[in-house]
Amino acid sequence: MNRSTSRIITMAAIAIMMVLPAFAGDYPLQVARNVMMYMALAITWDMLLRSGQISFGLAGLVGLGSYATILAVVRGGMPDWLSILFAGLFSGLVAFGIGFFILRLRHTYFSIVTLALGEIFRIIIHNLHDFTGGPEGIVIQQGVMFGGKSGPLYWLTLAGLGVALAASYWFEKSKFHFALTAIRNNEVSAKTSGVNIFRWLLATFVITSAIQGMIGGIFVQSYGFASPDSVFSADFTLLPMAMALLGGIHSTVGPILGGILLGLVSEWLKLQIPYGHLVVYGLMIIVVILFMPSGLLGIARKAGSRKSTDENQRRAV
C-alpha cells in the first residue's frame, strides 16, 4: 500500500466517524466510542514505537491522566473541559520528568521500567485513600459530562482521537519521521549523522504520554468515575498493542484498521457467543499474528507490490 492509499483509507475512516452520529443509534455510537478510545491509544503507542521503543506504560499513563482529571474536578472544582486538558498537561509533565531517566534504556529494559512505573502510579493512588478514594475509587458527584448524552460524548471521544491522528500525521510529515526512523534502524549511524537522539525521543515520549493521559481524562468524563482497577487495567496496555500490530505498525493507518478490526469483532463475537466469546477472541489474535505477521497493512502492501510486478511483467510482454 502506498502513501496515498493509506491516506485515502484514513480519510475514509475519519469521514465515516464524522457522519456516524447522523444515522447510527446509541449502541453503535457507544461501541464506536470504545473503539476510538483504544484506537487513539494504539496510534500514540505506535508513534513511540517508530523509534524502536516498546512501551508497556500505556495503562499507567491512562490511569495517571484519569486521576489527574477526576481529582482536579472533585478536589479542585475544575471545569470539565479544562480537566481533560489538565490530564494531558499533567501526564506530559510527568513524562518529561521521568523521560530524562528512562529514555536512556533500550529494549526489554525500557519496557519493564515503563511497566513498573505504571504500577508505581497505581499503588500510590491505591494507598492515598483520603485524597484519591483508594481502591474503591472515586466518583464525580454531578455525573458525567453533557448529562450522558451520546452525541456530545461521541464528539468528545472523536476529538481525542483527532488529536492523536493529527499528532501522528504531523510526525509522519515532519522531521520526526526521519529522526525516529533513523533511531530505530541504527542508533549509532543516526548519532553520527547528527540526530540528537535523546531530544527527539523525549519530545515523542512527552507528546504521546500527554495524549494518553488526555484519553484517560476523556474516559473519566464519559463514565463519571475512576478506580485503580478500571483505569490502570492491563487492557489499556495490551489491547492497543494488539490493535497496532494487527493493523500494521509504524503507520497511522495500521492502528486505525487494527482498532476497527479488534474492536468490532470483539463486540460482534459477544453477540454471537455470549458464554465463550473470549476464547474465540484469543484464537483470532493467534491466527491473525501467524498468518498476517505484518498485519492488515502487510497484506495490503503485498497485494500492492504483486499488482505492480504484474503490471511490470505485462509491460515487459
Binding site: 526489554t108 519493564i112 521500567v113 513498573a116 494507598n127 489474535i285
Partner: protein, 307 residues
C-alpha cells in the same frame, strides 16, 4: 580489583543486613525467603526462554495454570498426591509446550519481537478462557495436611512447607547451570542464545534447540504447576500475575543471568516482607518490588555507560 572489592562490600552489607533482620524480626527473613523461592521457581523457566529463545512469553503463567489444572484432575481421578505428579506433569507439559511451540511460536520467531509478544498474549487469553469455559471461574484446592507443617523455635512458630519452593528454585537454578555448561546440548543452547547466526554457521540446528529449550522450560513450569497446587487454590486467572512478576525478575537479574534470578527474588521477597511487618508500611509492600526493579535496571545502565 576494584570490582572485586565492590562485590565483596556488597556481599558483606547484604550479610550484615540479613543478620540484623534475623535478630530483630526473624519472621521477615523466614517468610521473605519462602516468598522468594516461589517467585524464583516460577521466573527461572521464563529467564531460560528469554535468554536463549529470546521471546517474552506472556502466556508463561498460563502454562503453569494449565499444568496445575491437569495435576488437579489427574490427582482427583487417581487419588494421588500432587507431589507424585511433579515428574509426570513436567513431561506432559513439556510435550504440550513443544507442540504449542511448533505450531505457533516457531512461526513467529522470524517476525519482530512484538509479534511474539502479542502471539503469546493471544495464547494467554485462549488458555484462560478455555479453562474458564470448562471449569468455570470457581476455585479448586487440594486439601493437604502436610502444607500446614510447622516448626517452633522459642516462642516463634512458623510454617515450613513453603521452604520447598526454595529447594525447587535452587534445583532449577543449579540444574540449568549444569545443563548449560556441562552437556553438549546445553552448550549448544548457550551458543544459540548468545549468537544464533554463529551457531547456525557451525552447524547447530537452531530451531531444534529453540524447541528443546522451550520444552525444557515448560517441563520446569509443569513441575512448578504441580508443586504450586499443594499450596495454592487454582482458578483460570491464577497464573496471570506471575507472568508479569517473572518478567520483572528476569529483567532485574539481567537477561541471560539465570542464577541472578534467585538473588533478585531473595532481595524482593525479603524487602516485601520487611515492609509488610510494620503497620505504617504494610500497604506499600507492593511498591518495593517495582521501585527496586527500576533502581537496579537504572543503576546497571548507568554503570554500563561509565565503563
Amino acid at each position: 580489583m576494584a570490582v572485586k572489592r565492590q562485590k565483596a562490600i556488597t556481599w558483606a552489607l547484604g550479610l550484615a543486613a540479613s543478620v540484623a533482620i534475623l535478630l530483630w524480626k526473624p519472621t521477615v527473613l523466614i517468610y521473605g525467603l519462602q516468598t522468594a523461592g516461589l517467585y524464583a521457581a516460577i521466573a527461572i523457566p521464563m529467564g531460560l526462554v528469554l535468554g536463549i529463545v529470546h521471546i517474552v512469553n506472556l502466556a508463561h503463567g498460563e502454562f503453569m495454570m494449565l499444568a496445575s489444572y491437569a495435576t488437579y484432575f489427574a490427582c482427583k481421578a487417581l487419588g494421588m498426591d500432587p507431589l507424585f505428579a511433579i515428574i509426570p506433569t513436567a513431561l506432559v507439559t513439556a510435550a504440550f509446550g513443544w507442540i504449542i511451540f511448533q505450531i505457533t511460536i516457531r512461526r513467529a520467531l522470524k517476525a519482530p519481537e512484538l509479534n511474539q509478544l502479542i502471539l503469546t498474549f493471544g495464547l494467554a487469553i485462549a488458555f484462560t478462557q478455555v479453562i474458564n469455559l470448562m471449569f468455570t471461574s470457581q476455585t479448586y484446592k487440594m486439601p493437604l495436611d502436610y502444607v500446614s507443617a510447622s516448626m517452633d523455635i522459642g516462642d516463634l512458630t512458623f510454617g515450613t512447607w513453603s521452604f520447598v519452593f526454595i529447594a525447587m528454585a535452587m534445583l532449577f537454578s543449579f540444574g540449568l547451570q549444569f545443563f548449560l555448561t556441562k552437556t553438549t546440548t546445553g552448550k549448544a543452547a548457550l551458543a544459540v542464545g548468545q549468537n544464533p547466526r554463529g551457531a547456525a554457521i557451525v552447524g547447530i540446528d537452531v530451531y531444534k534447540i529453540y524447541g528443546l529449550v522451550f520444552a525444557l522450560a515448560l517441563a520446569l513450569v509443569g513441575a512448578m504447576g504441580a508443586l504450586f497446587l499443594t499450596k495454592s487454590a487454582i482458578f483460570p486467572q491464577v497464573g496471570s500475575p506471575f507472568t508479569m512478576k517473572s518478567f520483572c525478575l528476569v529483567a532485574m537479574a539481567g537477561v541471560g543471568n539465570i542464577p541472578g534470578i534467585l538473588s533478585a527474588s531473595i532481595l524482593l521477597g525479603v524487602a516485601e516482607n520487611f515492609l509488610r511487618a510494620f503497620r505504617g508500611t504494610r500497604g506499600w509492600a507492593d511498591i518495593v518490588f517495582f521501585v527496586l526493579i527500576i533502581v537496579v535496571i537504572m543503576s546497571r545502565s548507568l554503570k554500563g555507560r561509565k565503563s
